[in-house]
């Protein structure tokens, strides 16, 4: 049964700009799994919202919806979709709106939870769930009203490998039940054989195949790469053995050995969602509350907000939050001005990144990837001694990822000590060392790998 058919769809947000969907055709039937890839900002999410019937702007073309079509949509970040505080109430929200009698809700809610493999109490506060669990909760909140078309926006990006694996089996069961799935995804390989139709969105049109950007993977570290300043041996970050835990909470992880980062070193901190990576980064920046006194040292001092000036920089997730100036150039010059550093560094940085055309643009009108790069570049031009980055590649396509790597390699070359977090494995070729938070322990995995190799 054909659920929805798009014929010659033309759609744009601004009449003065090129339409982001241009003469687009798509037909989705029961039990099919369509995967759409494409560059960041090319209109993939807009297409999902259009299929969901939620875009209010006018569009050209024809959209034929089956009368029985029921659409469920899970957006990229499940946090922004949460409307209630407990698991049961969150899932029951749609039932309330459909006028389902209260007496029937409990069974339907529990059934949906089981369907997505979440075996938790319906009274569990939503804030206690990991990101992967929240994603499945949002899926359950859609499945409870039995949609026959499910739309997923970049599930791989937000979930760790464990979360992706769990989602894989949930989707497999849904497809076998006849539910159709349309997902927007940079990494369709993660969902392997489930995908029946692979598309790439290119200049507003859907073409068969996977989007492969023509950007070479050229960021491998050259260990022999000389560091500009003679600071390679200077220890910048020291983490002595400790137990990392919030006040009145269970231990998040233990650190049994002393870990250090020196100038000109790039270290990746890898761990699953909710393992404590972001909290450790904030603790190193001196802004994490409720963790007491930990044996951490950055530039020889106990971390505290406001004592490092331009020497320690931190990029948190959703870096677009820090943008507030009228133009990209003034945004990048803000910190340079405050720390009395040469303003010309901002223009030089834009030139190096090939982004001079954005200098006069408003940072609020940029795409997600561009905002990400500008936020990072505004820190990079301070040439900090220590740079802490929380999941700097989240949600970026390979073009923007490559730009981030380019920036990081440049900073490493200039002698910065860099610690970046990731919920996915980072190849040892790309960084100097990899730390892992695994099974409740923080350890330098690269050291143990070297030991294994030696033995």
């Amino acid at each position: 049964m054909n659920l929805i058919e798009l014929k010659g769809i033309q759609f744009g947000y601004d009449t003065q700009q090129v339409a982001i969907l241009d003469d687009l055709h798509l037909s989705v039937n029961h039990g099919e799994c369509h995967c759409i890839s494409g560059a960041t900002g090319c209109g993939k999410s807009s297409l999902l919202h259009l299929i969901a019937g939620e875009l209010s702007r006018p569009l050209d073309g024809e959209m034929i919806r089956h009368p029985a079509l029921m659409v469920g949509l899970v957006m990229q970040d499940p946090n922004v979709q949460l409307l209630r505080q407990s698991v049961g109430a969150e899932i029951a929200f749609a039932l309330e709106n459909l006028g389902t009698p209260s007496a029937q809700m409990l069974e339907k809610v529990q059934q949906s939870l089981r369907r997505v493999g979440l075996y938790i109490s319906i009274d569990t506060p939503v804030e206690m769930l990991s990101l992967g669990q929240k994603y499945r909760l949002m899926l359950a909140a859609q499945l409870v009203f039995e949609p026959n078309l499910l739309l997923l926006d970049e599930p791989w990006t937000q979930l760790d490998n464990h979360g992706v694996q769990e989602l894989y089996f949930v989707l497999k069961n849904l497809l076998s039940d006849g539910v159709a799935i349309v997902m927007v995804e940079h990494k369709p390989q993660a969902f392997g054989k489930l995908v029946s139709h692979l598309w790439q969105l290119d200049r507003g049109k859907l073409l068969a195949g996977l989007y492969l950007p023509s950007v070479p993977h050229g960021h491998k570290l050259n260990i022999a790469d000389t560091i500009e300043i003679g600071t390679a041996a200077e220890e910048r970050v020291r983490i002595a053995p400790h137990r990392f835990q919030f006040a009145r909470r269970d231990i998040l992880f233990r650190c049994a050995n002393t870990l250090t980062i020196s100038g000109g070193e790039m270290v990746a901190l890898v761990g699953d969602n909710g393992s404590g990576k972001s909290s450790l980064l904030k603790a190193l920046a001196g802004i994490q509350a409720d963790i007491g006194q930990l044996p951490l040292s950055v530039l020889g001092k106990r971390p505290k907000l406001g004592i490092y000036g331009a020497n320690v920089c931190l990029l948190l997730q959703r870096p677009s939050r820090q943008l507030f100036e009228q133009t990209v150039l003034s945004e990048m010059q803000f910190s340079l001005r405050r720390f009395q550093l040469p303003l010309a560094r901002a223009e030089r940085m834009l030139t190096e990144l090939g982004l001079t055309h954005l200098a006069a643009a408003s940072p609020h009108k940029l795409s997600y990837g561009q905002q990400h790069i500008i936020a990072l570049a505004s820190l990079a031009c301070l040439k900090p001694k220590v740079l802490l980055l929380d999941d700097p590649f989240a949600g970026l396509d390979s073009v923007h990822c490559e730009k981030v790597w380019q920036l990081l390699l440049q900073l490493r070359h200039q002698g910065s000590a860099i610690l970046l977090t990731s919920h996915r494995e980072v190849p040892l070729d790309d960084v100097d060392r990899v730390w892992h938070i695994e099974a409740g322990f923080l350890q330098d995995k690269s050291q143990s790998m070297v030991l294994v190799d030696a033995s």
Binding site: S102, L106, Q133, F339
Partner: protein, 228 residues
């Protein structure tokens, strides 16, 4: 992974009283009490404000017992105290400082019941109570706004910290100088407003896609299921 549910809401305690008062009725009483206390903060004469202070101390103790955080509210009150006392001192001299302090106290006493209500009551239950007298859509918006308060305080703190690290002149010391106040607005409040607008738009989409407003009369997630 199994998650151990946290018991913290007042509802369970009401049930233990013998099931006489349901969670929804408890929420209605809490809402009524909050409105009365907040109104009283402005209506009562200064001589009997101590009664309100005592009752609000009880609310704080209850909230803290349930491990709810009050630091942001107290910080806000401290900023308001410093600002108000500064302005009173500037315009009325030292003789009127006590009046200034009472004004700050009244504002704090008006805010505390709201903090207690949003900390101890579930938004869906508040929504149900509000829908007794308001259209369902209005009740949802009010309940959702209340549940946004913790998000707002977290975002405010993170954006403030990010901008401090970027060198913005918004540290407590820098903010003693009124010249730096606009920087706090541009660097912190403006991005916070943008985040809130984005979030409210996404929440609206999320609600709409889950059929919000479709039924003529919405039903409610039962509060008495634990008994059953």
């Amino acid at each position: 992974m199994r998650v151990k549910p946290r018991r913290g809401f007042v509802a369970g305690k009401w049930h233990r009283l013998g099931g006489v008062v349901s969670e929804t009725h408890a929420c209605a009483l809490a809402l009524l009490l909050s409105i009365l206390l907040s109104s009283a903060a402005f209506l009562l004469p200064s001589s009997v404000l101590w009664v309100l202070v005592t009752i609000n101390a009880g609310l704080i103790a209850h909230g803290l017992l349930l491990k709810k955080k009050i630091a942001v509210l107290l910080r806000l009150a401290a900023v308001q105290f410093v600002t108000t006392m500064g302005l009173y001192s500037l315009f009325h001299g030292e003789s009127q400082l006590l009046e200034g302090a009472i004004v700050v106290l009244r504002v704090l006493l008006a805010m505390l019941p709201g903090w207690w209500l949003s900390s101890t009551q579930r938004p869906e239950r508040l929504g149900e109570v509000l829908s007794w007298g308001l259209p369902h859509q209005w009740a949802f918006v009010i309940a959702a706004s209340l549940s946004l308060l913790p998000f707002m305080s977290r975002e405010l703190q993170e954006i403030y910290q990010i901008q401090c690290m970027r060198g913005a002149r918004i540290t407590p010391k820098a903010l003693r100088n009124p010249k730096n106040w606009p920087e706090f607005i541009y660097c912190v409040l403006f991005p916070l407003l943008i985040q809130l607008l984005k979030l409210s738009k996404q929440m609206a989409i999320s609600a709409k896609l889950r059929h919000f407003g479709d039924a003529a009369k919405a039903t409610h997630w039962p509060s008495t299921r634990d008994h059953k």
